[in-house]
């Protein structure tokens, strides 16, 4: 059994988990509270938001495409869910809020899927364009009238409550979403087709598979996952706001790539993405706890913490890409 598990974990996943443990160790030296179960559980809860968002994007990346409309799809999810009572009234609103938010996210994914699969537009440009369109729509939404932006009780409960004692609800949702994704990827025809399209779309098409439909489904899942993340974030912060998804694009893609998913598609495991998400979350947390920018400030480089974090992310992604690219060349 143990060897089975070891066999399933590829190198990148092990590295990501290893780095996570290393980060916790470094954090523990700086701040002993780091290894408390409270802190770690809190980290897992924070990771859940990123994990749910990354789930959908991972499917799209496995196909060999990318979804850059994530930031504003998150905002759409959060803002549409909180605005639902304004659209549907006080009685229906609370029931429809979450389905409506998810549907709006899936709708963005639908347009992305139609553009990439049926119009054959490059995903990078098309989804980036959709991000701008989504932004415009949300600015219009807030500009025309004063929308309801408070989180509903049910959203607060989902984001902050604990249905099972000791397990934060977002983590529970991530576990359910993750288990479903693992099932899809390993046990279903859809999963086989996702990997196959990422490897050689032409061969898949010639095997009699409607590749466009697979693309469409995955982009819709990606949109819905981003919206789900937005709804949880709105519940967490107890309000939705424009640009609430902006800090998530880079961490999402970074987590997936760090987890060993091939950015060109066809290869990667969900466990790897979990490892990547946890690594990114810990990295963010530790950068804000031990504040290495203060060290650089002493050397004369004064950079704000947020800027420093961005630079570290970028450098980590580039390093990992180089690492994987080289590994491939050697083979």
């Amino acid at each position: 059994m143990a060897t089975m598990v070891m066999k399933r974990l590829d190198k990148a996943t092990m590295i990501a988990f290893g780095c996570s443990i290393l980060l916790i160790a470094i954090g523990a030296i700086a701040e002993p509270n780091f290894i408390s179960s409270d802190y770690l559980l809190q980290q897992l809860q924070t990771a859940s938001f990123l994990g749910i968002i990354a789930t959908g994007v991972m499917l799209v990346i496995l196909l060999g495409h990318i979804d850059l409309s994530i930031p504003w799809t998150i905002s759409i999810g959060g803002m549409m869910a909180t605005a639902a009572t304004g659209f549907f009234g006080e009685t229906l609103g609370p029931f429809l809020a979450i389905p409506f938010g998810l549907a709006c996210g899936a709708a963005v994914g639908l347009v992305n899927g139609l553009g990439v699969a049926y119009l054959r537009a490059p995903a990078m440009i098309f989804t980036l364009g959709m991000n701008a369109v989504a932004q415009g729509l949300m600015v219009f939404h807030t500009g025309g009238f004063a929308p309801q932006d408070r989180g509903l009780p049910i959203m607060r409960e989902l984001a902050t409550g604990r249905l099972i004692p000791g397990v934060p609800n977002p983590l529970l949702i991530w576990i359910v979403v993750g288990a479903a994704t693992i099932f899809i990827l390993t046990r279903t025809t859809l999963g086989r087709r996702i990997y196959a399209i990422g490897n050689k779309e032409r061969a898949v098409y010639l095997s009699g598979v409607d590749t466009r439909r697979v693309l469409l489904i995955c982009f819709m899942i990606s949109g819905a996952c981003a919206a789900a993340g937005g709804i949880l974030l709105a519940g967490w912060a107890n309000r939705s706001y424009q640009a609430m998804g902006d800090p998530y694009l880079l961490p999402t893609i970074a987590a997936i790539v760090l987890g060993g998913t091939n950015v060109l598609g066809g290869r990667g495991s969900y466990i790897g993405t979990v490892a990547g998400v946890i690594l990114i979350t810990l990295l963010q947390s530790i950068l804000s706890v031990i504040q290495p920018q203060l060290f650089f400030a002493e050397l004369g480089f004064r950079v704000p913490a947020e800027v420093f974090r961005q630079i570290v992310f970028g450098v980590v992604i580039i390093s990992m890409l180089l690492l994987y690219g080289r590994e491939r060349l050697q083979r």
Binding site: R187, T188, T189, R192, K200, V204, Y205, S207, G208, R267
Partner: protein, 520 residues
């Protein structure tokens, strides 16, 4: 040949191998100023390899080349160009987004102050175009906007703009209109009169008869003979191009069964000028070959049947019922039951990094699934059966399919489709690049499938295969079926003659009776 008049180009003892495959073995070739020298041979005879060596695209393993009596060797196309050798390939070498003038002058554009002199470049292009009779082409038009025949004219103009000593045309006229061919021929004769040496490769015998002064025949990577044009009959030339030994690797053909309803019936199938009015009746238990030279529409026919081409006209009937083939998913559906073994297994047949298991069950996975969830036990059982049936040698069934040998990879592609239990099987040159043993297994498999009631359409570039495996062969020329050969008329001689659109041999005597000319 007297001393002092050594030929312009002499190639001696040229050998070239690609891995274990011998492309050229101890070949010689000569050509001289003011002569058009035709190079003849079947597909794979080594003509293209010889041309690539001359053009500096590949280097020979051994042998000498002398130009003007000086030994030379080219390590790049640029070096060959500099030595005065220009090639016109059948695959166009133009950049579609650049203008005609840019393309013509691309290797050595006229410069002024370190920048390209646009005016001079345009004049150069106009002169070059005028020389080949392509005055109607605007030098500033983007090449991508031109139709194929105009592009080919630009290609010829580009080669001439380098004022070569030796001009090589490899199937350069196959894309041209009849009017253009006349112009190009006039130009070639003029160039010949001006003292240029021209090497001409074509599968069109009448072109060679009209143009060539000398002919050299290659067969199977070896030099056969050089003779003056007009001294041999077409029949004798075809005879020279054949000559491989027949091997007994083919299973015996069964007695011809008569009647039976046709499973697949085509009426007037046409597509984009590359398929012209194809008619066909394919019955259960039949193996029908598609013959002819490479690129005459055989692949397009298979792709059209499999629903990958848009704009196909004519009717396709399956079991007497007209159907519309809209996509490969439709073609493999229960109702139609079609399978296509593609020619390019690495790009069209397999997902190389994925496991043997995933590849094998990929086309038939719906059969092992309920509500999209794969029944992995049923899948494993079916895969095991198929591996045994086809005798596929797999080390690790969960290892990547890329780790298998070429022959076993091809078996995986075929097994993947047999798992869908197809009733109509289309094969697109399935034995290319696989070893003889596997080939033999495939031939036997084809027969077994046919006996089991499948209808098989088999395209091959190997004439032996067509003769050994097929009940009858449709010979393609220019996108149309020019002849159907069966029974005693199905000989290599007749196949090659038909492929060149020549009348079949009278030597075959009674066989002529079986060769039915397609109505045109």
């Amino acid at each position: 040949m007297t001393v002092g008049t050594a030929p312009l180009l002499r190639m001696e003892a040229i050998t070239k191998r690609y891995g274990g495959v011998r492309a050229l073995e101890d070949v010689r070739f000569e050509c001289d100023r003011g002569k058009i020298h035709a190079l003849l041979g079947e597909n794979g005879a080594g003509k293209s390899t010889l041309i690539k060596i001359l053009a500096g695209v590949v280097q020979p393993d051994s042998g000498q080349i002398t130009l003007d009596g000086q030994p030379i060797s080219f390590n790049s196309p640029a070096a060959a160009n500099a030595a005065g050798i220009a090639c016109i390939f059948q695959e166009l070498s133009l950049l579609p987004d650049l203008s005609v003038a840019d393309n013509i002058a691309i290797t050595r554009p006229p410069m002024r102050f370190g920048l390209i002199d646009q005016g001079a470049q345009r004049r150069l292009a106009e002169e070059a175009l005028a020389r080949v009779g392509g005055e109607d082409i605007h030098p500033l038009a983007p090449v991508g906007d031109l139709p194929l025949s105009r592009r080919q004219m630009v290609e010829i103009a580009k080669a001439l703009a380098r004022t070569p000593k030796i001009l090589i045309l490899d199937e350069a006229t196959s894309a041209l209109t009849a009017a253009d061919v006349t112009k190009v021929f006039r130009m070639l004769k003029q160039l010949k009169a001006d003292g240029m040496a021209i090497i001409y490769i074509s599968h069109r015998m009448h072109e060679i008869a009209e143009l060539a002064d000398d002919c050299t025949v290659f067969r199977n990577g070896r030099y056969v003979e050089t003779f003056a044009a007009g001294t041999k009959s077409d029949d004798a030339i075809v005879e020279m191009m054949i000559g491989r030994e027949y091997s007994s690797v083919f299973p015996p053909l069964p007695e011809k069964k008569s009647g039976g309803p046709s499973m697949l019936s085509l009426k007037g199938l046409s597509w984009a000028g590359q398929l012209n009015d194809i008619n066909l009746d394919l019955k259960a238990g039949e193996v029908v070959g598609l013959g002819g030279l490479d690129g005459q529409g055989q692949r397009q026919l298979l792709l059209a049947l499999f629903g990958t081409l848009i704009g196909v006209t004519g009717t396709i009937e399956i079991n007497g019922k007209a159907v519309k083939m809209s996509n490969p998913g439709r073609a493999k559906s229960e109702e139609i039951g079609m399978a296509l073994i593609p020619e390019d297994r690495k790009n069209e047949g397999l997902m190389l990094p994925m496991s043997v298991r995933d590849n094998l069950s990929f086309a038939s996975i719906e059969g092992f699934s309920r509500f999209g969830i794969v029944d992995r036990k049923a899948e494993a059982v079916a895969i095991d059966d198929m591996i045994k049936l086809l005798n596929i040698r797999v080390g690790d069934i969960d290892g990547p399919v890329a780790s298998l040998s070429g022959g076993n990879q091809q078996k995986v592609v075929i097994a993947k489709w047999l798992m869908t239990k197809p009733r109509i099987i289309l094969l697109n040159d399935p034995t290319r690049g696989i070893d003889v043993g596997t080939k033999q297994e495939l031939y036997e498999l084809l027969r077994r499938l046919a006996e089991g009631g499948a209808a098989i359409l088999f395209y091959s570039t190997d004439y032996d295969e067509l003769i050994g495996c097929c009940d009858r062969v449709l010979v393609f020329y220019n996108g149309a079926v020019v002849r159907t050969l069966e029974g005693a008329a199905l000989t290599e001689h007749n196949l090659i003659a038909s492929a060149h659109n020549l009348p079949t041999s009278t030597k075959a005597g009674a066989a002529q009776v079986f060769a039915t000319e397609a109505a045109s």
